[in-house]
């Protein structure tokens, strides 16, 4: 292909882009490599976007990242086309967002799970350690053996943050309790390996664990299944997973990614957009634990009261839950 041809084609493409821009200014949502139906993080952001769509009737453009090189590409593409706001979930997009946000100062960007310091970016991060602390308290109280388990997906700082908060909650309630911790694997498949999740859970149960908490995306389905099969308790994560095995899921650690996505879309739509860092902790109801009809019988009044006290103390600052990602280490294990 000659260069002249290339340039003509490029010009046509630009013309087409501008035309599209004039027609509609609408939101765009980018999902990370797990895909929007990962039953976990990405699905939560999908649900937030869908909620916005049903409530307002405004559709949104979407893209699922497949290659790392596509991160910048997707952000830039949506910004070029005049999509506003552009919401992306996943800490892996941090660097791409940093670059693209500077190029499009007029566009409103939101990123979840990472902080990007740009005047037009809203960064939403969650205090997963606080929510995990509460389910740790509940796990320690529900355990009869004094042994509980944790199954993570991949060994990344984010998952250590879950694990560390959980262990702190367990130990604060029962200093003698033993916590077994395992990661599922070292490749991205670790987020979606139900068989392996179940296998690890069974081995933890064999060692005496009778409550197992997972932060492992799709792998967690296997964790909860194995716990239910063995007649012990599992603890869900991200979304409310209590319904998966009623009576066998003690509770779920909620991480309201859906709210973060919904708020970003709605605020932009209502002209109430604000940039800056949003920390979604217990205080902001960004994290928490799930209580519904599926687990009401499992949570005693005493447990409820203990979790509530811990929640208040964390909010007031009386209990400080250590955040693994601040220094890359955990005081207890």
């Amino acid at each position: 292909m000659t260069l002249a041809k290339t340039l003509v084609a490029a010009a046509t493409l630009v013309a087409a882009t501008t035309a599209a821009q004039a027609q509609d200014a609408n939101p765009a949502v980018i999902f990370d490599r797990g895909g929007k139906f990962d039953k976990s993080f990405n699905q939560a952001s999908y649900e937030g976007a869908e909620r916005f769509k049903t409530e307002t009737g405004i559709g949104y453009a979407e893209f699922e990242i497949q290659q790392d090189a596509q991160r910048e590409q997707a952000l830039r593409r949506f910004a070029e086309r005049g999509h506003n706001p552009v919401v992306v979930a996943g800490f892996s997009n941090e660097t791409a967002m940093q670059t693209v946000a500077q190029e499009f100062p007029e566009t409103q960007f939101a990123i979840i799970d990472a902080v990007v310091d740009q005047p037009n970016v809203r960064s939403v991060i969650f205090n997963e350690h606080e929510g995990s602390y509460l389910v740790g308290v509940l796990a320690a109280m529900a355990s009869k053996s004094g042994k509980v388990g944790f199954v993570g997906g991949m060994d990344i700082p984010l998952i250590q943050k879950f694990a560390c908060g959980y262990v702190q909650g367990v130990k604060a309630t029962d200093p003698d309790a033993e916590v077994f911790q395992n990661m599922t694997g070292n490749t991205p498949e670790a987020w979606n390996d139900q068989a392996r999740g179940a296998e690890i859970t069974r081995s933890q149960i064999d060692r005496g664990a009778d409550v197992v908490y997972h932060a492992a995306g799709g792998t967690g389905i296997g964790v909860l299944q194995a716990a239910a099969d063995a007649g012990v308790y599992g603890i869900g994560v991200d979304s409310n997973q209590n319904y998966l095995h009623p009576g066998h899921v003690l509770t779920s650690m909620l991480k309201r990614v859906d709210n973060a996505v919904y708020d970003a879309l709605a605020d932009s739509n209502n002209g109430e957009w604000t940039s800056g860092v949003y920390v979604m902790g217990l205080k902001e109801d960004g994290v928490g634990w799930a209580l519904d009809e599926n687990n009401a019988a499992l949570i005693t009044d005493e447990m409820k009261a203990a979790a509530e006290t811990a929640r208040e103390k964390i909010i007031s600052g009386e209990i400080k839950v250590h955040d693994y990602t601040t220094d890359g280490s955990c005081p207890v294990s």
Binding site: L3, A9, A61, Q66, A69, F91, T95
Partner: protein
Amino acid sequence: MTPALPRWADLVLIPGLNLALAFLVAGLVVVFIGEDPIRAVRILIQGSLGSSYGIGFTLFYATTFVFTGLAVAIAFHASLFNIGGEGQAALGGVGATLVCLAVPWPHWALALPFAILGAGLLGGAWAFIPGYLQAKRGSHIVITTIMFNFIASALVVYLLNNVLKAPGMSLETRKFGEGTYLPFMHEMLGAIGIEMSRTPMNLTSILALAAAFLTWLLIWRTRLGYEIRAFGHSEPAAVYAGIDPVRITILVMVMSGAMAGLMALNVVMGYQHRLVLDFVGGAGFVGIAVALMGRSHPVGVILASILFGILYQGGAELAFEMPAITRDMIVVIQALVILFTGALENLVRLPVERVFARRARG
């Protein structure tokens, strides 16, 4: 014996027919989900080749595949099936990263030779172990190389978690110094007055061409290359001719691994400027398809790499433009191409050979 095909039929006609078949079936899939296949093809081609932007991305992906494809091709010539490109490339990334982070390089031209060495060395070392085990212990290379992919993955996660990690949430190293950034193609072309959109395509694309040429030189113009091919055709005959099978197996695997490791120059040193978890992203496996399709010839590998670059970049455009075509659909389309060009090759080859045989008989 199989009737001989004219060279052009072997190199052009059969891959072309395979490709046409693959697109036909892919088109049917697109029709099945209720979209217009003609429009899909148009977006695919337009998005990947229709602008300097699309071309840049296409060739960026293609460059990666040239390295991993050549890696598999070199091993194929010795009848070794190296499916460990994924892990060797990951280790190559570690090598390039260590070089880039170790010294505050003043200029990329200084850093580049050492990065090539670092990436090649670690990539090659990672393939040396399976090569050694195959040559000395008879452990099958397919099994060991695929297992080494997992070990490499675990090693990189460990390094990024504990040794090289930059502060923050992401599993990645800190950014390299500016003195290691390979020039982007749009910068190089801009310097001589040619406009090009900003894309990740960089100097490595030229290195890939050089690597392809050197591979050709090695395989068909050197004594070692002759030994490799002789060994690949028949090990007993090669041994009878005085070729040392241990030496060839290990050498070929090391060269193959080094070639896969060089892929890191394109992604790590040329584009991301830091080591990111899972930066290989399946390129090692695409390399197998590329080598199969390119009939293990460097020119074929380059052409097949460009085709896969088109599928990657055009596929992304397709997902942007036609929301009904999800990324899983694009994987289906890519898989069909691999299926028809790699696995089902004989589907077309046998009838074509029959046609030519009938012609030859008159």
